[in-house]
């Protein structure tokens, strides 16, 4: 702390994080004429080196699985552009005894928008009124009607395909035309019709028409490898460049924020950060601050920003920072469909993700659990990869021409189903500062506490039953390793694994039970905003990114108008 190097310049706004929330804030605030500095804890991507579009497995000596085959069966392969990691060397996190939680972090310009599945679903009106609807959780301080114009702005700007369906649980948006379904998806649609389950074109942040100079998708299914045409949405390719083009955005990379410093007037006045390249501590001053570091990282920064006026962490007079942590309920199953053996070779790639999905369809009846889930589908004749035929080899065994032919006939005949459901916040799920551990920068780390409640287990059970009914209606065989008991009943994924963790600095109208007001502005510190997933009050079965973008856009417009009035 002795050698803090201080920048003389004071910016209008300092944004911490460059993902969905940070990117939207940077765009809105620089468009509005403010001078903005953005801290990002990782480096910038280099498309020439980092993007892997169109590579074949045989062009890589390790065929995609890395040195020693260590990436076999992992989420990331050599084909992926760098996009984040479950474990970061020198930057640990811990779990309390009995808790299983995994935390995916993207220390890179664009954050997790480099990684996300680009599934862009609006929350429904009912998703903002949890407590009024079923007595559990809390209502948001805003309604669907208040956020809808921002969904419109975001969708119009980033480009989302979809179809108008008029389904109450899945509001329509500003859509480009959806791509045609793949063979596997045509089959799923027919199976769903038989099983009386809704199945509609998916809604994804991928262009099917040119937009703002970005060309339409070229259907190589490789969004995760880095898209050289920027036809899909990422903050790094779609939000940051125009913000930089205004000349009012200063982007500081490899800058790990350690603490927000509060002045005598009770307002935030600076951020101390570690320059990871020089390992020096530096300070940047600003008139207002936007935390957009991801829900848990933003909570960590608040909790680590202790001072005489905020002994329990900045903006935490309520004690709510770190609480109300939720992730998405995830459970999966696979169907084997023999009729897909007759599908002739054809280009099945499509966009980088599903063309159809199952929105929550049982909203009009009483279920064994509260809230809902949607189902994502994948599979078919996609690019073969290492591990592709483990299942066929284990099932049929043997060797020789018959095994080789079996692999070929089974190729592309599997369809995967992923349930994605709403978790209700509970008192056992939260993060706090581990009293015993710091990271390599000397910053105290987060400790996670986690326990699913019965509602989520019942939901996972229902997912498994639905997978079976869809698969069997489609003439397939249901394959699932999920069991009713054990550590993961009905295949429910561990906390954090679906990478939808949110809620750790929630918005609300009561400063005693929430951290932020309806504009994501801290109740305790009026020049401090938190616009990432931390602000969420509930974790509807809608992937959070689109709502993060809309919330951050709205909060940033408010910040801009307050700044212009001199209120910050």
């Amino acid at each position: 702390m002795a050698q803090v190097s201080r920048s003389a310049k004071a910016y209008d706004v300092c944004i911490i994080g460059s993902g969905a929330a940070g990117g939207a804030a940077a765009k809105v605030l620089t468009d509005g004429g403010l001078n903005v500095v953005m801290l990002e804890a990782g480096p910038r991507l280099n498309p020439e080196k980092d993007f892997k579009m169109f590579a074949w497995p045989y062009q890589l000596p390790h065929r995609g699985v890395g040195v020693g085959g260590k990436l076999r069966g992992e989420l990331n392969s050599e084909f992926m552009a760098p996009n984040g990691a479950w474990e970061i060397e020198g930057e640990p996190y811990t779990s309390a005894p009995g808790s299983r939680f995994r935390w995916f972090r993207s220390r890179i310009v664009g954050g997790r928008t480099n990684h996300w599945g680009r599934i862009a679903l609006r929350f429904a009106p009912v998703d903002f009124k949890s407590r009024s609807t079923d007595g559990m959780g809390d209502d948001w301080p805003i309604t669907y009607e208040e956020i809808a114009p921002y969904y419109d702005k975001v969708e119009s700007y980033i480009g989302v395909f979809g179809s108008k369906e008029n389904i109450p649980s899945a509001p329509d948006g500003v859509f480009m035309p959806p791509p045609k379904p793949r063979c596997t998806e045509t089959l799923v649609q027919k199976a769903c019709a038989k099983a009386k389950v809704l199945c509609i074109p998916s809604r994804m942040a991928i262009l099917t028409k040119p937009l703002n100079g970005r060309p339409a998708c070229h259907y190589c299914a490789q969004c995760g490898r880095g898209c050289v045409t920027a036809s899909n949405f990422s903050s790094s390719q779609v939000m940051i460049p125009p913000a930089q083009a205004t000349g009012r955005l200063t982007l500081i990379t490899n800058a790990m924020a350690r603490e927000i410093v509060v002045g005598k007037n009770g307002k935030a006045e600076a951020v101390d950060y570690i320059d990871k390249t020089s390992r020096e501590e530096k300070r940047v001053n600003a008139k207002a601050f936007v935390l957009a570091a991801s829900a848990c990282e933003s909570a960590r920064l608040l909790l680590n920003s202790r001072s005489a006026s905020f002994p329990d962490g900045l903006a935490n007079s309520s004690g709510v920072v770190g609480r109300y942590l939720t992730d998405t309920v995830g459970s999966s199953g696979t169907g084997y469909f023999p009729q897909l053996e007759k599908v002739p070779p054809h280009n099945h790639d499509g966009v980088g993700g599903m063309h159809v999905y199952v929105p929550w369809w049982k909203f009009d009846r009483k279920n064994d659990f509260l809230r809902g889930y949607h189902i994502e589908v994948y599979g078919g004749r996609s690019m073969p990869g290492v591990g592709e035929f483990d299942g066929v080899c284990d099932e049929f065994e043997g060797y020789g021409a018959s095994l080789k032919q079996k692999c070929r006939s089974m190729y592309g005949t599997f369809i995967g189903f992923e349930g994605r459901g709403e978790m209700i916040p509970n008192e056992h799920c939260y993060c706090d500062i581990d009293p015993d551990t710091v990271d390599q920068w000397g910053i105290p780390v987060l400790r996670f506490h986690w326990q699913w409640s019965d509602n989520e287990i019942k939901m996972a059970k229902d997912m498994q039953e639905t997978f079976r009914s869809i698969i069997e209606a489609g003439g397939g065989t249901f394959l699932s390793s999920a069991t009713a008991d054990g550590p993961r009943p009905y295949g429910i994924a561990d906390g954090g694994v679906i990478i939808h963790e949110i809620g750790t600095a929630r918005t609300g109208s009561n400063p005693k039970t929430s951290v932020l007001n309806k504009y994501c502005q801290a109740h305790d510190v009026k020049n401090l905003f938190v616009t990432d997933g931390a602000a969420f009050v509930s974790n509807a079965d809608k992937n959070p990114t689109l709502t993060i973008l809309a919330l951050s856009w709205r909060a940033s417009e408010y910040l801009l108008s307050e700044a212009k009035k001199g209120n910050l």
């Binding site: 579009m53 020693g68 066929v392």
Partner: protein, 199 residues
């Protein structure tokens, strides 16, 4: 437009520069994207050939590995097998970097030779074809290890090698062609599903 005069490096460079300069979406025209793909493709297809020097397996072990891989995924009609697909090279490379693989495969090959020597008086490669078939038929199925527990290590070894051989073959150029995967390319439109009975 004179795309032919644009090198892959130029195209990628323009992308990088755009991002660095912060210009709005360093976007390249659609044709340029397609052209970039062809260039990358052509460049990467020119993989150097030549003979391979094993990194982990000793020469004789490597010959046994090659023979086993080719038996697991043999040539068929005008399609090559695991050998032509480079599967043994792939297996050797990964094994040279992974102590778990070294134990399973290095140890497994020694188990195979020791078992063949016990049964037939010679290591696997020197055995007659019917003997080789007999031992492989014994270790290629889990059920056999239930009847004869002394086969269990051989069964585990073979199952592991079978997976890796399938990996090596089906991620090769000829393996991908054999499967009939024809994507990984620029498409102006996605045509959807061709007509298929029952789909």
């Amino acid at each position: 437009m004179g795309l032919k005069s644009v090198s892959r490096r130029d195209i990628l460079k323009s992308l990088t520069m755009g991002a660095m300069a912060g210009s709005v979406l360093r976007v390249i025209p659609t044709q340029a994207a397609e052209y970039a793909h062809h260039l990358v493709d052509a460049e990467k297809a020119a993989t150097p050939g030549g003979s391979y020097t094993p990194k982990f397996f000793r020469p004789r072990q490597y010959k046994t590995l090659q023979s086993l891989c080719q038996t697991i995924i043999p040539p068929e009609g005008d399609t090559g097998g695991a050998l032509e697909a480079g599967a043994p090279e792939f297996v050797d490379l990964l094994t040279s970097e992974n102590s778990d693989y070294q134990l399973k495969l290095g140890g497994g090959l020694m188990w195979l030779d020791a078992t063949c020597t016990d049964r037939y008086g010679k290591p696997y490669l020197d055995c007659a074809a019917p003997q080789q078939k007999e031992i492989l038929d014994a270790i290629a199925y889990r059920a056999n290890a239930l009847k004869d527990p002394s086969l269990a290590q051989g069964v585990a070894f073979f199952a592991f090698l079978r997976n890796l051989t399938a990996d090596g073959f089906f991620t090769s150029e000829i393996g991908i062609k054999y499967l009939g995967y024809i994507g990984n390319k620029y498409m102006p439109d996605f045509p959807g599903c061709p007509p298929v009975p029952d789909v």
